[in-house]
């Protein structure tokens, strides 16, 4: 049962990920990326990581991809054609990407893991457990990441502002 769900989710995520990079229209790319992220969220459910599942949907599907879609619609980018007629860089890129995949898969195959089905702690991914760890052991990184957010926000506002000399 679990394995069947895993297989279906994996096929969806790989297919949608391929569609992301090969669709002509950026709006379609964003929509396929949403599909990919939902299937990855499904994997999180399968792994009992309920908190990450919901945060993943809120952060990625709810905020980041809406921003992508917003920018594409705002700048009306759906018609832009890509320059660079020569196919050579594209073929080279595709081949090197494929080679990377082969190397990674080879490394995985060489791991020689004799793992059977494992018993895991089903309660590990709960909000309570993760919250305790986050605010106990990782309090400093948490605060630092909030500073990062603040600086990113200020940076985005400064970048987005029109040049004051123009007025």
């Amino acid at each position: 049962m679990d394995q069947l769900v895993f297989l279906i989710l994996s096929i969806i995520s790989i297919g949608a990920a391929l569609a992301v990079i090969f669709s002509k229209n950026p709006v379609y790319s964003v929509l396929f990326l949403i599909l990919t992220f939902f299937s990855i969220a499904g994997h999180y459910v399968l792994l009992n990581a309920e908190f990450l599942f919901i945060v993943h949907i809120i952060v990625y599907a709810g905020a980041i991809l809406v921003l992508f879609l917003f920018v594409i619609m705002l700048l009306n980018l759906n018609k832009t054609t890509e320059t660079g007629k020569s196919m050579l860089p594209k073929i080279a890129g595709a081949i090197s990407g494929g080679l990377l995949l082969i190397v990674l898969l080879g490394a995985v195959k060489g791991l020689n893991q004799a793992e059977a089905a494992q018993a895991v702690n089903a309660d590990m991914g709960s909000v309570k457990n993760l919250g305790k760890i986050l605010f106990d052991e990782y309090l400093l990184p948490f605060e630092v990441s909030s500073t990062l957010f603040l600086s990113a926000m200020i940076g985005a506002v400064m970048l987005g502002k029109k040049n004051l000399k123009d007025h």
Binding site: E50, A61, L69, F70
Partner: protein, 347 residues
């Protein structure tokens, strides 16, 4: 196991049916409320008091010509309203529609599923609800629709932040993310009255912020800029016709019903009502009474939504953004700080 499944399926079908019925009759109620506020009578020809009007409207929607503009993106044009409708209906799964019933020696919970991250689930569904409007507006290939879609997305993202912050203060007092538990906690006696310790007593400011954000998230007046008729023709649904338009409108009313239900469960005690344990009634009767009370609260909230719509004018776009970012978010942060201080002091 199988009996459990049958319970759930019956419950899901019932909840969907009731939600759709409410959405259907909200359109009728909206027209009646508007009429009464404007010293008119409203629809009163179809059936007694015009009660069959929604059915007539539905038939009309189905029989209208289905029109897809030539330059529209066909697949996304159809996808837009479907996403809107799906996300509008999805939230009803975690709302506790009543306490448990004891039937045939079994305990049946009137909540489809009690996720222990229920509040976050509601939040996630709300945050993906914006895609329906954005995709529909973009696929129409019409500048008014596109403007409506852009406005909808920026408005929803802005108000989601304030909404989340106001919920955080609530969660700090309740200490749980499960909607079922939050409602149950509100049933504890206060001042000797059982079923009256509603969260509105602890979080008045948070509730006000949540209410304003709920108006903005449902695209209701005074925040209905995405579909403002007099500047954007119809906003994101300018190009839609027939049942696809019906889906968009229906999704709006469903959202209104669901957000009314969420507000009643989060802040107004859900199915709890004052003196519920002191009347000495059997458990099942109390449960049924509680569900009736929940629906009464929901109807009151829907009336509030409509009352506000026919009273207040629409905000200007910059006023909307200023209110979201410069008033509601700081207020919500202050609310969090006050709540935290009170929790520390009272402990």
């Amino acid at each position: 196991m199988e009996i459990f499944l049958i319970d759930k399926i019956v419950l899901i079908v019932a909840v969907f049916g009731i939600t759709l019925l409410f959405a259907l009759y909200s359109t009728y109620a909206e027209r009646k409320v508007a009429a009464f506020i404007q010293d008119r009578l409203g629809p009163n020809r179809a059936g007694i008091f015009g009660l069959l009007q929604p059915l007539a409207d539905g038939v009309k929607f189905f029989l209208k010509e289905e029109f897809i503009p030539k330059h529209a993106d066909k697949a996304l044009f159809i996808l837009g309203p479907s996403i809107s409708m799906t996300t509008a209906l999805m939230t009803s799964a975690v709302i506790p529609w009543g306490n448990s019933l004891e039937l045939f020696d079994r305990v049946i919970s009137l909540q489809i599923t009690d996720l222990n991250i229920g509040v976050l689930y509601v939040f996630a569904v709300v945050s993906i609800g914006v895609y329906g409007i954005m995709i529909g507006g973009w696929a129409s290939n019409n500048k008014f629709s596109l403007l409506g879609a852009l406005r909808a997305s920026s408005q929803m993202i802005s108000y989601e932040i304030a909404m989340g912050l106001s919920i955080i203060a609530l969660i700090m007092t309740t200490g749980t993310l499960s909607l079922g538990e939050i409602v149950q906690q509100q049933g504890t006696p206060i001042f000797g009255i059982s079923g009256a310790s509603w969260n509105i007593i602890y979080q008045p400011l948070g509730f006000l912020i949540f209410l304003i954000c709920a108006f903005a998230e449902c695209n209701r007046t005074p925040f209905d800029l995405p579909e403002s008729e007099n500047e954007l023709v119809g906003g994101y649904h300018t190009e839609y016709s027939s049942m696809k338009l019906g889906f968009f409108l229906f999704a709006e009313y469903t959202n209104m019903f669901i957000s009314a239900a969420i507000m009643s469960s989060l802040y107004f005690g859900g199915y709890n009502f004052p003196f519920m344990d002191q009347l000495g009634l059997p458990h099942n009767l109390v449960t049924i009474l509680g569900t009736i009370f929940l629906f009464a609260k929901i109807i009151l909230f829907i009336f509030l939504f409509m009352w506000v719509r026919w009273t207040l004018p629409r905000f200007r776009y910059d006023q909307l953004m200023r209110m979201g970012w410069k008033m509601l978010i700081p207020l919500a942060l202050i609310n969090i700080i006050i709540t935290g201080l009170l929790i520390i002091v009272l402990k």
